[in-house]
């Protein structure tokens, strides 16, 4: 999730100075709680929610990766991991509105879907190149300096594909049913007074 983090920081750096008269001195926050101007998806702006989101989102994303990787031995896996990861973005959207969601995404939901399908297809089809049946898996263990014995199985790749698809699904649904509708409502609000003024 480094990409996500990078995009987020880029967004945060990009508009840090743009917000009216900032308080002087050391007590002024260097960054906002969230990276863009906040207009939450529902209801009035909630500082508590914003802070919680700020604190929790990295933890949730990390947890989702943990679920993904440990899925072979413990409850978890691509589906659960993907749902948890998308939960982080949903939280971000609820707290910060659609622009916040846009700022936090590593790529478009469709890109995630495509990447996920690509990874899954690649894992499924790769054994064909070696004359093996489709979707065959292999695994090996190796000893790494810090982590000790590390097991790697090719179905982890497949699970990553599943993970990406699930994230892509949830995000495109949120983008469509949440952000898109929100944007339309706003447009309608913007347009209505103008039209009335014109007449």
């Amino acid at each position: 999730m480094t990409t996500a983090d990078g995009a987020w920081r880029a967004g945060a750096d990009g508009d840090g100075q743009g917000d009216g008269a900032a308080p002087e001195g050391w007590e002024a926050p260097r960054e906002r709680w969230l990276s863009t101007v906040v207009r939450p998806a529902f209801g009035p702006r909630s500082v508590l929610l914003e802070i919680v989101a700020r604190l929790l989102i990295p933890a949730i994303l990390t947890f989702s990766v943990f679920l993904l990787l440990s899925g072979h031995d413990r409850p978890g896996g691509g589906f659960v991991g993907g749902l948890v990861a998308s939960m982080a973005y949903v939280l971000r959207y609820v707290a910060g509105g659609r622009h916040e969601l846009a700022a936090g995404l590593p790529m478009r939901p469709n890109g995630l879907l495509a990447l996920g399908l690509l990874v899954a297809c690649g894992t499924a089809g790769a054994p064909l190149l070696f004359g093996r049946p489709i979707l065959e898996t292999f695994s090996f263990s190796t000893v790494l300096p810090v982590f000790g014995t590390v097991k790697f199985a090719s179905f982890l790749l497949f699970d990553i594909g599943v993970f990406l698809i699930v994230v892509g699904l949830v995000l495109s649904v949120v983008a469509a049913l949440g952000a898109r509708m929100e944007a339309e409502e706003e447009e309608a609000r913007v347009r209505r007074p103008r039209r009335e003024g014109g007449r």
Partner: protein, 828 residues
């Protein structure tokens, strides 16, 4: 070679349309090559075939079902190949003169005709019932396309459809008959079935009757003959080829093909003789009153087909020989006559008897050919038609033939004599109507036809003469085909002269009476008019089609109310009515027992499960009863978490985890949508509708639950996931569910993620579609720069990777004064 010829037909069918641009109507010369090749090959093999050694070829087609394309050319097939390919080649050449280069769809016409030629060749040479059926239907379909060639004429379309419905509809009966017959006989090879016919099955008559129905419809037997006269809207070469010489003989061929094996099985012979004779008489009678020459010939064809069915289905040696003779005779004279009418129509623009005069003087060659062919049809010596008719009368001389019984033979003989008299009369009427000088009619101006145009009818007519003068050729074929059939007093040979005997006397009677009938044609016409109009057979077809339409409409009207809930209710009711009633019956009878009171019966496995279940039940009922959206939503969430709790109790942590996450997400997304909708559900069902719905749904739910209960109780097999644990350790995973998902059953998961991706794209498209249409609407009304801003905004809204770059724009948009936050309305 035979298979090569068939493939050649198909290949030419593909190649011809592009050639039209280069060759125009001369494309038919090219089209005549495959049939010409086929007939030359068949003739070159004729001595071998006639001597009793048929040619076979085979290609595996559907090996799994033991269906192979077997081909077998014996004497009967040889006669048909001569008709199909020989006459076909001649008619293709004739078409060059008949069609103009600017004729609409000439490429399609040529292509379909060649395709038909190939299909018909397949029908008469294949030795497999399924292949026969496929080729048979292919001829029906090509016939449909050819009849409807002029697709701008409603009449043509209707006639085409009528022919298709009649032949293909009955073809289905035939298919069932084929399957039955093959099942009874243990083989689908026609030659084996005929050589060693199964006799003892009670289903055999059913199979034969079904096959006969198909054959009768194809050969336009009464009362299914109506499609053939209607099909005369097709261009004349097509009528000559399909609806006189070849396709309509498909039924005759099939009857003749099966007769050696099955003629003695009741009710084959009775059916064939009755239907054939009736058709012969009806067709002849109707032909006498037609004014359109083509229709006259069409009814004549119906009559002759009845005649042929009688001969082909009788299953005696003399009748079989007569069938071969008449088959060849009819093929040649009827195609000649059609082509003659085609020339007359083409040159003068009419084919009405009442409008034609002086043709004989102006086109003597054509008139000669036509008269010769008509004489063959009338049964005059020394033509092949005479040879066939002599043999036919011989075949039913009471007391001299093995079948049918003398009384029946007497009736048949009388019927055939009457039919022949009618045939003579309408033949004479045709010659008179087409060629004679009529004083009452004023002569039309027309050009004489080119010699090339007349060649085909002259050649075909000459072939009839040749076969008549030298009947040995036809006789050889006939003897080869008729050899296995029961013989009468003495062997019979097709010949012009058999000495003085009863048949010669009958022929003389036919000629005399026919001439009399023709001479008295005005009286006959008046008599026909005076008779009350018989019910037209076509009426039956219309009533049938009308009844189907009406039935379909009334069923649709009742069932297709347009209400989704009614449809779903019907599905539920069906589930209850069929397996549900059976379940209740089994429970009442005691075949099945609910596990009450048995040692297996438990209220719950742990008290906690009971608590969760009660929460589930309460939440579920609340969801169903709640009319406010948000409370219903909350209850739905409670329901989902309850199910997750159940999963935890039942040792499924993965499921519980997934379900909790999914439920949470579902709730959030439902809130996105629900907050825009009104706060209560609009329509509240009440009264009897509601009560009935509740009852139906409760019954359906109870049925499923009880079934589930019984099934799990009755389960005896061990789960198939037995060895999964060991294998999972092999691949290095300890969470079995996850290993199943990503390894053992990864293909399922793969399918699932494709579904998920599709759903994601579909959701986005559904919502954005609306947006796009709205932007399109506004483009007309609003100023351009505003549009630009909006589309820019639209791009941002979909949350892209350009977030870092786009933030300023977003900022700008967001700081609009009127963009300040407002509480959301419940809907616009």
């Amino acid at each position: 070679m035979l298979i090569f010829a068939l493939v050649l037909h198909a290949a030419f069918a593909v190649l011809l349309p592009p050639l039209v641009r280069v060759l125009g109507a001369r494309v038919f010369f090219v089209a005549s090559l495959p049939p010409a090749l086929a007939v030359l090959w068949a003739l070159s093999q004729a001595p071998r075939i006639v001597s009793g050694r048929p040619i076979s070829a085979s290609v595996a087609w559907v090996p799994a079902l033991d269906i192979s394309l077997d081909f077998r050319v014996d004497a009967l097939a040889l006669a048909m190949v001569v008709l199909v390919s020989g006459i076909g080649a001649a008619i293709f050449c004739y078409s060059v003169g008949y069609f103009h280069a600017d004729e609409r769809g000439i490429g399609r016409l040529a292509s379909v005709m060649v395709l038909f030629s190939g299909a018909m060749l397949g029908v008469v040479t294949t030795d497999n019932l399924f292949a026969l059926y496929v080729f048979w239907e292919l001829t029906s379909v090509t016939s449909f396309l050819l009849i409807g060639h002029d697709d701008r004429k409603e009449q043509a379309r209707r006639a085409a459809l009528q022919a298709l419905v009649t032949t293909v509809g009955t073809g289905l009966f035939m298919l069932v008959g084929f399957i039955l017959l093959g099942g009874i006989g243990g083989t689908f090879r026609i030659s084996e079935l005929v050589a060693d016919p199964p006799t003892d099955s009670p289903w055999l008559p059913v199979a034969l009757v079904l096959i006969l129905v198909g054959a009768f419809a194809k050969s336009a037997q009464a009362p299914l003959h109506f499609w053939l006269p209607a099909a005369m809207v097709a261009p004349t070469p097509i009528s000559a080829y399909l609806h006189a010489a070849t396709m309509v003989k498909g039924g005759v061929y099939l009857v003749a093909r099966l007769a050696p094996g099955f003629a003695d099985v009741d009710p084959w012979r009775a059916l064939v003789l009755t239907v054939g004779l009736a058709t012969m008489l009806v067709g002849g009678w109707r032909a006498l009153r037609q004014d359109d020459l083509k229709l006259l010939l069409a009814y004549g064809t119906v009559s002759q087909l009845g005649f042929l069915i009688v001969l082909g289905g009788t299953g005696t040696q003399v009748a079989a020989a007569a069938m071969i003779g008449t088959l060849l005779a009819h093929g040649f004279f009827k195609s000649t006559l059609f082509l003659t009418v085609g020339v007359i129509d083409h040159q003068t623009g009419t084919r009405s008897i009442a409008a034609l005069t002086g043709i004989g003087r102006r086109m003597p060659v054509l008139a000669g050919a036509g008269a010769l062919a008509a004489a063959s049809m009338a049964g005059l010596p020394p033509l092949i038609g005479f040879v066939g008719k002599e043999a036919a009368l011989e075949a039913f001389l009471p007391g001299h033939v093995p079948a049918p019984s003398p009384a029946a033979a007497g009736v048949m003989l009388a019927g055939l004599v009457v039919g022949s008299i009618l045939t003579f009369a309408y033949s004479a009427r045709f010659v008179w109507g087409a060629f004679a000088d009529k004083e009452t009619v004023s002569e039309r101006r027309f050009q004489s036809p080119s010699w090339a145009f007349v060649t085909a009818p002259v050649l075909l007519s000459a072939a009839g003469l040749l076969l008549g003068v030298a009947p040995q050729a036809a006789d050889a074929v006939a003897q080869s085909y008729a050899a296995p059939l029961p013989v009468g007093d003495k062997p019979y040979h097709l010949a012009l002269w058999h000495g003085f005997g009863p048949t010669l006397g009958l022929t003389a009677l036919v000629i005399a009476a026919g001439a009399l009938l023709f001479a008295a044609r005005r009286t006959v016409e008046q008599a026909q008019k005076a008779l009350a109009r018989w019910p037209e057979a076509e009426l039956g077809y219309h009533l049938f089609v009308h009844a189907i339409y009406a039935a379909a409409l009334s069923v649709t009207r009742r069932l297709q109310s347009g209400s989704l809930s009614v449809y779903l209710g019907v599905i539920l009711a069906t589930m209850l009515a069929l397996p549900g009633v059976r379940l209740v019956a089994a429970l009442v009878n005691g075949d099945l027992r609910l596990p009450f009171g048995s040692e297996e019966f438990r209220i719950w496995d742990s008290p906690l499960e009971g608590v969760v279940a009660v929460v589930l039940i309460v939440a579920t009922i609340a969801v169903a009863r709640e009319h406010r959206r948000f409370p219903a939503l909350i209850m739905l969430g409670a329901l989902g978490f309850g199910v997750a709790g159940l999963f935890v109790l039942h040792g499924a942590p993965d499921l519980a985890l997934t379900l909790i996450l999914v439920e949470t997400l579902t709730m959030i997304i439902l809130v996105f949508v629900l907050r825009r909708l009104p706060s209560t559900f609009n329509v509240r069902p009440n009264g009897w509708t509601k009560r009935f719905t509740v009852l139906l749904c409760s019954a359906a739910g109870t049925f499923i639950a009880v079934t589930l209960w019984l099934m799990t109780d009755a389960r005896t097999a061990t789960p198939i996931s037995g060895g999964f644990a060991e294998r999972a350790e092999e691949v290095g995973g300890r969470n079995l569910v996850n290993v199943i998902l990503v390894d053992f059953r990864a293909l399922d998961t793969f399918g699932e993620i494709v579904v998920l991706a599709t759903a994601a794209v579909a959701v986005a498209s559904l919502v954005l579609l609306n947006r796009r249409s709205r932007v399109m609407e506004q483009n007309g009304a609003e100023t351009p720069e505003e549009n630009g801003a909006e589309t820019e905004d639209a791009k941002e809204g979909t949350a892209g990777p350009r977030a870092g770059i786009g933030t300023k724009e977003i900022l700008g948009n967001d700081l609009r004064p009127d963009g300040a936050h407002q509480p959301n309305e419940g809907g616009e």
